[in-house]
């Protein structure tokens, strides 16, 4: 196959993989800290994307026309708003249920996801229609043979990489990160050592949800469109990616995200009906993988009280 074509497929895969990785990191962070799967994460992403859209419309209506200001306003407002939402969810829906069977938490967050999704659909004007997302990044592109390298895609990819590295550094080089890792490893001992459990949980949820908002904005810029159902799909894939990579491991989550995107790209390129079957192929591989390695590539350390 033409090298330019291959490069284009790879670029597409990288963009999509970056978004999956960002969502997967959120899942893994929540699991590490509270042993809980927050199924509403994907729909939190949708809320983030729509918040950005609303911010854009609001700021522009207030008379501001400058691209960079609009962009920064969107990103900042959306990330902070969604981080706050994440903290609320943690405080009032997830923490109270820590003692209940894990199934209940799973079900509640699943239903919460539905609530968020339906709220966007019902309460945003004409929410059921896909909404155009502004194109605020420069759209210059270079054509190298069959490969079209666009500036906005490159910027987003670079931004995504920096965000991931930032989270990486936060978790491994700062005291806050040390506290988060301590709570993830052993909650009781961490509390004994003086770590404020509640604060750390809230911060972890804030970080994870902020990442989701960033992914949502990226998704909006990439497709120039947001719709109320975008989160469900991304959420399930992010969850699958986090599991493939091994729950509780940040590297695993990132790996899982790109792996899933690679699976989809391989499916598109290799299968005769290409993109139609890419989801079927990717999900089938996930199910087979779960049969082979039920706890993911980087094994979760489980101990159970009998």
């Amino acid at each position: 196959m033409d090298i330019g074509l291959l490069a284009q497929h790879v670029m597409n895969g990288l963009m999509v993989g970056m978004m999956y990785a960002l969502v997967a990191v959120g899942f893994t962070l929540f699991f590490g800290v509270l042993d809980v799967i927050q199924f509403a994460h994907g729909d939190v992403l949708t809320v983030g994307a729509f918040t950005a859209l609303v911010t854009f419309l609001g700021v522009r209506a207030a008379g501001v026309g400058s691209g960079p200001i609009l962009l920064s306003a969107m990103v900042v407002v959306s990330i902070f708003a969604v981080a706050a939402l994440g903290m609320l969810i943690a405080r009032y829906l997830v923490l109270p249920l820590r003692t209940a069977p894990a199934l209940n938490t799973l079900l509640i967050t699943l239903m919460l996801g539905t609530v968020l999704r339906e709220s966007v659909r019902l309460f945003y004007p004409q929410g059921a229609n896909p909404k155009p997302f502004p194109a605020l990044l420069p759209t210059n592109s270079i054509n190298i043979g069959n490969f079209n390298l666009r500036l906005d895609n490159t910027i987003m990819l670079a931004a995504g990489v920096m965000v991931i590295i930032g989270v990486e550094l936060l978790l491994n080089r700062t005291k806050l990160g040390l506290a988060i890792r301590a709570v993830a490893q052993d909650e009781e001992t961490a509390r004994t050592m003086g770590i404020n459990f509640l604060a750390i949980v809230l911060v972890a949820f804030a970080i994870g949800s902020g990442l989701a908002a960033f992914a949502g904005i990226m998704n909006g810029f990439y497709y120039n469109e947001v719709n109320f159902g975008m989160g469900l799909y991304l959420g399930v894939i992010g969850f699958a990616a986090a599991i493939i990579g091994g729950l509780g491991s940040i590297y695993g989550a990132i790996l899982g995200g790109f792996l899933f995107a690679a699976l989809q790209t391989v499916g598109t390129v290799a299968l005769p009906f290409g993109s139609a079957y890419k989801d079927v192929f990717a999900f089938a591989v996930i199910i087979i993988f779960m049969a082979w390695r039920p706890t993911g590539l980087i094994q979760e350390k489980i101990s159970e009280r009998v």
Binding site: L5, A128, N129, P130, P132, N146, R150, G274, S275, A276
Partner: protein, 388 residues
Amino acid sequence: MTRALKAAMAILAVAWLAAVVPAEAKDKVKVGFIGPLTGGVSANGLGGRNSADLAVRLRNADPKAKYEYELVVLDDECKPNVAVQAATKMAAERDIVAAATHYCSSTAIATVDVYHRFGLPVVVWGAVLPDITYRNKYPEVHRVNGTMINQNDTNAELLTKLGYKTFAVIHDTTDYGKGHNEYFSAALAKRGGKIVGTFGVGSDQQDFTAELTQIKALNPEVIYFGGLTPIGVRIRAQMDKLGIKAVFDGTSGIVSDAYIQGLGALAEGTLAFREGAPTDKLPGGKFFMEKYAAQKYDNPPEAYGAFAYAAMDLILDSIEKVGPDRRRVIEDMAKVENRDSIIGKITFDDHGQNTVSLITKYVVQDGKWVVWEDSEYASGKRKLPRQK
């Protein structure tokens, strides 16, 4: 039991019976409307609903009308399964005498059997798939707008005349998109155009980079799109992202203000075709536009509003003539010949299909759908992509 208790129970029983036994039907006649009120093509559905509502209002305001009409509106979300549920609900309710149904072809073709099963006369106002009236000979199903055969013929004719030789086809996998693919391919083959690749996509697909990357490698001059506005917008936008330079050639499915709103400047130079004259040039066009504006609806009538109005008007005429009885309305509709309406004279053939022979060619110019002959592209002042 004390007498008070017995009396109370008697009163309760009577009240219960009164609530439960259906009340006497007043002289109010119910007619129905089904269209996509939510979802990607809701602009067309809402425009159609408003137009049908206008027809009912004008008729109710008419002192010569024998009955008072009530419009029952259901949403089919442009999804076949929702449409079947809505159609079943509407057809199963015996009070509803007739209905104007469906903009989306995928929904209209799925529901014909339901209307036939329950014997509800319907007039389709926006769906263009020929099979809707021609696959079976159901006396219940009629249509006032034209079918897609003619528009695809005109489409192929114009593009080959402009000198384009290589085409790629993207169509959605519902019966609507597949129909467009079939008729356009046939029309193009007759005129010597070459189709370098055909791609079927999902009607709510998000990511077209796979198909478009392959199309880029095939390098066609024109990309023909058989589908509706939501994915039309996405495909056109992603074409630009991948740096594909080709004419974006669509069908009546994208003739909608929502298409231009979704794309902004990228919509420039898109071609599309629709049966029937532009609304203001219809025989009753000015009348319709005036009355529509007077009602101050939230949404414009869009491309098929006039047809929805004509469909509902036809139904109301029939009911006025033979009374609110489904069977008699079906018999009357079989005899519709040269009936006056705002879209011209309506005649139903033996399959209930009205003939609309005029096809209007549209091109997007400066953020508006402009009739081709009036545009600067036809006169040569502007050029379409890769036009010689």
